[in-house]
Symmetry: C2
Subunit: 500 residues, 2 copies
């Protein structure tokens, strides 16, 4: 048995995944670790999926409600979705099989702000949690859990669950110990300020204390996280990154930012990684990150001495960088902090530290409303994730996207966003390869001009036509022509291109 299980009582609970899965019953509400492919349980999901398939083969029902930190992996969300083992899922996912089930209305999915998801569990909005399944690097002598490569909603689920299953994964570096900062907000009506005033501050313990009597099983694993490689930055990504840096330089010139004061939040993806690569050669120094995931680009910035500290709730690294993190966790834990997602994404702290939020999008409309979730208003991609937490409360909020997708058939700028996740009241800057639209303090009419200017040239005349038609209406504060507001989307559906 692994020396990583140092507590005697819990050593007595070690069993096979199949044995542990017997504690997960049909109809259970199950809260698991896992955030963007890091730190999810590696063995139980498959074992639960097998139980479900066996039950289904006998004609019995077997579905669970699954609560996570965020997205997981094919060997977690994927196997459970394929086994048709999930009734309800929240707060975020990005798995292809799961997405198909959701869009076929075969699985219920509630798309919730990541900072709210654990809190809703605490507040009783989801009912009683039955089981928590959490991956750990190690169990201490006292029975405390050292989380692995993600903290997510572990604390909330471990506190709320009636039964606990722990997976101890020896693939994860033991030197992650000391990187986590676990702090619990007292429950209503006793909430207090989160005592963080700068991204690098530690306020809690490096472990999670749990009720040992609730632990029904401990399972040993040795499996890697789901780490996907990033594509090298293409020309469009590099132009977007360059426009983003121009915007930052403009803020410095205007006296609203200093080269020594940039606090970064960044969504995941190739464009954000291009932005971080651009920062390597920029004048910005002592960059800090208060964000939800640590990406390759942040590791590079730390290595180059450009970033002093990165606070997040999880890793989202390429296989190469994940290996490096595992080898050198002892070094990186001086400059990386992993917190519960309720804290990494807490509106209070986000507003206080004054970060610049940068997230991707599906589309924006000419008035600056953003769709982050549903393609053409109906097809769920992943979910809102933490984009709302950071957009709403950041010092400056920005969205970055190529101006077109699918070889030009889809414009990222449309007359009316077909789903709205971030409203005109919250969106400050939108950036494409054609420039940036700084919408701060502007009226809808003035926003439209700026937004059309950063659309792809092929779409600018179509957007201008729409705006002119909208201006023939009676009310001109937010001009719209509702009968043709979704014409880009109906063109796409009918003719295969938003151009019609």
């Amino acid at each position: 048995m692994s020396e990583r299980i140092a507590n005697d009582k819990l050593r007595g609970k070690v069993m096979s995944p199949e044995g542990a899965a017997q504690f997960v019953n049909a109809g259970d509400k199950v809260g698991i670790s896992g955030f963007t492919g890091a730190g999810y349980p590696k063995a139980l999901p498959t074992a639960i999926a097998e139980r479900a398939k066996a039950a289904h083969d006998k004609g019995d029902d077997f579905k669970i409600d699954l609560f996570t930190g965020a997205s997981t992996a094919p060997d977690c969300d994927g196997v459970l979705a394929e086994a048709n083992a999930i009734n309800f899922r929240t707060p975020y996912q990005s798995d292809p099989s799961m997405r198909n089930s959701i869009n076929a209305a075969q699985m219920k999915y509630a798309d919730i702000h990541l900072s709210h998801s654990g809190m809703y569990m605490q507040q009783g909005f989801f009912g009683q949690l039955d089981v928590a399944i959490v991956e750990a690097v190690r169990i201490t002598e006292e029975g405390h859990i050292i989380p692995s490569s993600a903290v997510g909603n572990n604390v909330e689920y471990l506190d709320a669950a009636q039964r606990i299953i722990i997976e101890v994964n020896s693939w994860q570096s033991e030197h992650l110990e000391g990187m986590h900062d676990i702090w619990r907000m007292p429950q209503l009506p006793n909430r207090i300020p989160v005592p963080i005033t700068s991204p690098g501050q530690r306020i809690g313990s490096p472990w999670i204390d749990i009720d040992l009597d609730k632990v029904v099983a401990v399972v040993e694993t040795n499996s890697p996280d789901r780490n996907a490689p990033f594509k090298p930055a293409d020309e469009v990504s590099q132009k977007i990154a360059s426009n983003f840096l121009d915007f930052l330089e403009g803020e410095v010139a205007a006296g609203r930012l200093s080269y020594d004061g940039y606090i970064m939040q960044s969504g995941v993806g190739n464009v954000p990684n291009a932005v971080m690569a651009g920062l390597l050669d920029s004048k910005f120094e002592n960059i800090q990150a208060y964000t939800e995931v640590i990406q390759d680009g942040m590791v590079d910035l730390i290595d180059a001495g450009k970033m002093t500290v990165a606070s997040a709730t999880a890793f989202s690294l390429s296989p190469e960088y994940a290996e490096r993190m595992n080898d050198q966790a002892e070094k990186y834990r001086d400059s990386i902090i992993l917190r519960p997602q309720q804290i990494s994404n807490h509106p209070e702290v986000i507003r206080r530290v004054g970060l610049i939020a940068t997230n991707g999008m599906i589309e924006a409309d000419i008035y600056g409303n953003i769709n982050s979730t549903n393609v053409s208003g109906t097809r769920m991609m992943n979910g809102i994730g933490g984009s709302g937490d950071f957009t709403r409360n950041g010092y400056i909020s920005s969205f970055i996207s190529p101006s077109v997708a699918k070889d030009g058939a889809i414009s990222a700028i449309v007359p009316f966003a077909s789903h709205i996740d971030h409203t005109e009241h919250d969106v400050m800057v939108v950036i494409t390869e054609y420039g940036y639209a700084d919408l701060r303090g502007l009226t809808p009419r003035d926003r439209a001009k700026k937004m059309i200017a950063i659309a792809h040239p092929d779409y600018r005349p179509l957007l201008e036509e729409y705006y002119e038609r909208a201006n023939k209406g009676k009310f001109l504060h937010t001009p719209h022509d509702l009968p043709t507001a979704f014409s880009f989307h109906t063109n796409l559906a009918d003719k295969g291109s938003m151009k019609g």
Copy 2:
């Protein structure tokens, strides 16, 4: 000269409104006091409007950019709009003349969260403020300002402005002194937690300290606030109030609320007042309010011993109640606190105290997205006000509205909201006279069933028809039929009724 001006230096600055208006130039950015018809300057707006009219008569330009706390009154927003004296206006208004100018695109209007408006000024997003014009109850010997019936963005504008004009209004009770709680958040990068953990806590001073060298004029006035009477609650309002109380009772039954733990936020209007009247006869005790305006119903709750404390940034009272407040301010200042709107509406404090947010709306769609601002997507009514501050961060967020307007020609529940100010991610409960839709933790499909059930019976079949048509699409997570998504609104435009 009034004894209310106790500072010698400022006594030397007393002059006529016309004299003071000479310090306001064409093109100036002007920040004024005033929030929901309380505490706005009474003399300068008319004097500025007269200057503008005189300039216009000579063929000269004369417009200012006007920043307030929120809405003001006919003798402020009204006279300035009628004189065509405003170029740009933010963050909220409700004046009929101003609304017409905005919707005719003759005046620029930026609709901004009330908690963000003063902060944007501090952060330099609006450029340099030229003049602050602030109503006071009194100027102390040291030259501190005792604000009147609203605090609003006074602190931010007084700090930012190059020139200050003070109106000392002897209509306002001197006993308001002691009711205000003025606290400044240190500027980035030195922000700290707001040290409020319960609604009744005082953290600052009862006065605003200013740079006396910036004061260019002091004007004496004796004019009432704009206080509008409330209509007595009609049958529909009473049913909505009763459904809201049923919801609260359900939360108590579920263990998520106690009769001794209700913290109220309430938008302004007749339905909220009916809710407060309902609370008078309820089992709820020791109610607290952490809200933006003090309304008649809260005064009744305080008088009845049902409410222990109300924290807000301004009054919004009927003439009768305003008179009572002026007569008995000394008594009420034990249980009423007026704060800067950045604090009354601060996301951090709202989330911490755990309030239940209750606001009106123009329309909601079947998935729970809310339109608070633009009728049929294009006609600006007032603005988002503080509804986003409270909805996003409240323990529970709720919206209340009659199910129909204009004798049934307009449904408050529509297939697709024609403007979205609050997204599905933030909206928890929607209440009409037909019941409440508790949307917490539900998927879009399950939300649609609940929302259609609280629509007016005349509109339920039309909404069901839409939902069935939407379900013929390919993607069923958020079913929509985009070509007919705005059919209710186009029916209204073409045929005078959403029924078509």
